[in-house]
């Protein structure tokens, strides 16, 4: 019974649709005849269904690339998917949109070149131009299909454009961004994996260190380690024992734009030369190691995160906890503390 009713409904819909389409076609035919009778200015171009198919195909590929951006963004992990894919997806998307527009311009729109001078402001002539413009699109036979494809592509690009906004939360889980491989007891090693001994850290130079057994490419991994005169340190009271023997460790990632803080400014004659500082080569953010990484110059908005250190029984340096603040360039809610993996 129910099925029967459904069949009737579908049949009515289809039949009604055919009738509607029939009426529409008749109307269009009427319109066309009317236009022909009016003797159009622009000659009717022969329809090019092949070109239309090409445009639809190009727009389809562009939409797929835009959706690819969303997929890459969703599945992104530093080790698995190269972030270049994001740029490649968007770039290819725009390339195919450009290709589609070029095909429309070259093969679907009738070009009418005016040999006369551009007409002065005159109601009659302006009407003529409007008619030329309207009739120039006369080759297009499936306008709605093309408009639909264009709208779909625009929607996909729009979706790709707003995807990164999800990272602001709360839909997307941003917690992994705050995790660092450091926790109490993790040993400091150099880029070859050799442990860093406290006695081996000399003053007047700087060392790059990593957590033992972790991925060195992670943003929270790399450290810059320096040794200063312990009597001159002015660390906050809560960090009193973070620097055994005057050895300090900071995140090597600048809090401004995430470059590597690869410069250590060390005066040869401290009496008249600028005092020691950690400097980022990108925009010259300068951090004071004596006070625990405070910004003393440049665009960075917050101190360089400091890692508490301790010396184990073998004399090697180990982390005594996690960083004093979130690692990496600054963004929303950045003042919260990092979490250990």
């Amino acid at each position: 019974m129910r099925v029967w009713r459904w069949l009737v409904a579908i049949a009515t819909f289809l039949f009604g649709r055919r009738v509607r389409q029939e009426r529409k076609r008749a109307k269009q035919r009427e319109k066309r005849q009317e236009a022909e009778a009016k003797d159009p200015i622009v000659a009717q171009g022969s329809p090019e269904r092949g070109a239309e198919n090409l445009v639809v195909a190009l727009l389809g590929i562009a939409s797929l690339f835009a959706l690819g951006f969303v997929v890459v963004y969703a599945l992104f992990s530093p080790a698995g998917i190269p972030n270049e894919l994001l740029g490649i997806c968007l770039g290819m998307c725009f390339l195919f949109v450009g290709g589609a527009l070029t095909v429309v311009a070259k093969r679907l729109v009738v070009t009418e070149e005016l040999e006369d001078d551009y007409p002065e402001a005159h109601p009659g002539q302006q009407k003529e131009i409007v008619e030329i413009v309207r009739e120039s699109g006369s080759r297009i036979t499936r306008k709605r299909l093309l408009l639909g494809a264009g709208a779909a592509t625009a929607g996909a690009v729009g979706l790709a454009a707003i995807t990164p906004a999800l990272s602001l939360g709360p839909i997307w889980d941003t917690a992994p961004l705050d995790q660092t491989p450091w926790r109490r007891g993790v040993r400091l090693v150099d880029e070859d994996g050799n442990p860093l001994s406290a006695n081996g850290v000399a003053a007047g130079t700087f060392y790059t260190a990593f957590p033992e057994g972790a991925n060195n490419e992670e943003i929270g991994s790399s450290l810059i380690v320096v040794r200063l005169d312990p009597s001159k340190l002015k660390l906050p009271a809560s960090r009193a024992n973070w620097a055994p023997g005057g050895i300090l460790a900071f995140s090597k990632i600048c809090t401004h734009a995430g470059c590597a803080v690869a410069l250590y400014r060390k005066p040869t004659f401290p009496v008249i030369e600028p005092k020691p500082a950690l400097v980022c080569p990108c925009h010259y953010s300068t951090f004071d190691p004596y006070t625990g990484g405070d910004v003393i110059y440049g665009p960075a908005g917050r101190p360089l995160p400091q890692l508490p250190l301790m010396v184990d029984d073998a004399g090697d340096l180990r982390a005594a906890g996690n960083f004093s603040a979130r690692v990496g360039p600054s963004w929303w809610n950045v003042r919260e503390a990092p979490t250990s993996e």
């Binding site: 880029e191 000399a202 410069l263 060390k266 040869t268 004659f269 030369e273 080569p281």
Partner: protein, 263 residues
């Protein structure tokens, strides 16, 4: 002991005499003894030191850490030189970093004001003030270019730029290294002149240092893929050139698409 005491007395006398001489002369000139011996000697070095270095580095390399009252425009501040050895003095004199007209300036590559004999003499004299490292003798030919690039990128490129074109650090200018000799590079790595960190052999071994020098020497004639290095200065000129070339190309492409070229 007796000998060093005598030396100090001699230097003091010379210094006093030369201060008078210096007052009578224009500030920038080098003070030389009236008759220089034909060969380099510690004695000649002592005389030259007293005349040209002692006003900042103190008598017999003792250094002057506090401003001297009544020293007019020369604040007279300089680090002690006892124990710096031949390495540091050779570096500062051969590069023209010293003598410095004002102790508040950053020492930079400059005209070398002493001749070779005088430099050898002063280096010998400074080396005699205390035991310190000798002039290194790096062998860049034995290094590996790949290791050199890796080590240079790790330790040096942050300031000196990856093709050693120099740059800035807050508070100082970082010199380009194209005209540095292998010895100067080896010395600078160990000393860390001005604001540069020093790299002891536990940080950069002598073998790694050879590789670094080999790499720095190779940057004098870098392999410019594409044919145009644009000064090897990095992203800013490269970006400018890209845009100055890319924008016209894009415009031409737009015009071609619009068939305007055919008119």
């Amino acid at each position: 002991m007796r000998r060093s005491g005598l030396m100090a007395a001699l230097t003091a006398c010379l210094a006093l005499g030369v201060v008078g001489l210096a007052a009578a002369q224009p500030g920038s000139g080098i003070v030389r003894p009236t008759t220089e011996p034909a060969k380099p000697s510690v004695e000649l070095g002592a005389e030259l030191y007293a005349g040209n270095c002692a006003s900042c580095h103190g008598i017999a390399g003792s250094g002057i850490k506090t401003p001297r009252p009544g020293a007019a425009d020369i604040a007279g501040e300089g680090p002690p030189l006892r124990g710096v050895g031949a390495l540091a003095s050779d570096f500062y004199l051969r590069t023209g970093y010293m003598p410095l007209s004002s102790p508040h300036d950053q020492p930079g590559p400059d005209r070398v004001l002493f001749n070779d004999k005088e430099i050898r003499s002063i280096v010998a004299y400074v080396a005699s003030l205390g035991s310190g490292p000798g002039i290194p003798n790096p062998k860049p030919d034995s290094g590996s270019l790949a290791e050199g690039l890796q080590q240079f990128t790790l330790h040096c490129a942050g300031c000196h730029q990856v093709v050693a074109r120099g740059g800035y650090v807050t508070g100082a200018v970082v010199p380009p290294l194209q005209s540095a000799t292998p010895n100067e590079i080896a010395e600078a790595v160990r000393i860390g002149p001005y604001l540069m960190p020093r790299f002891p052999s536990s940080q950069i071994s002598d073998a790694q240092l050879n590789s670094i020098i080999k790499y720095v020497l190779s940057t004098r004639h870098p392999d410019n893929r594409g044919g145009w290095g644009i000064g090897n200065l990095g992203p800013i000129p490269e970006g400018l050139v890209t845009w100055w070339i890319a924008v016209p190309l894009l415009l031409i492409a737009c015009m071609a698409v619009g068939r305007r070229l055919y008119r």
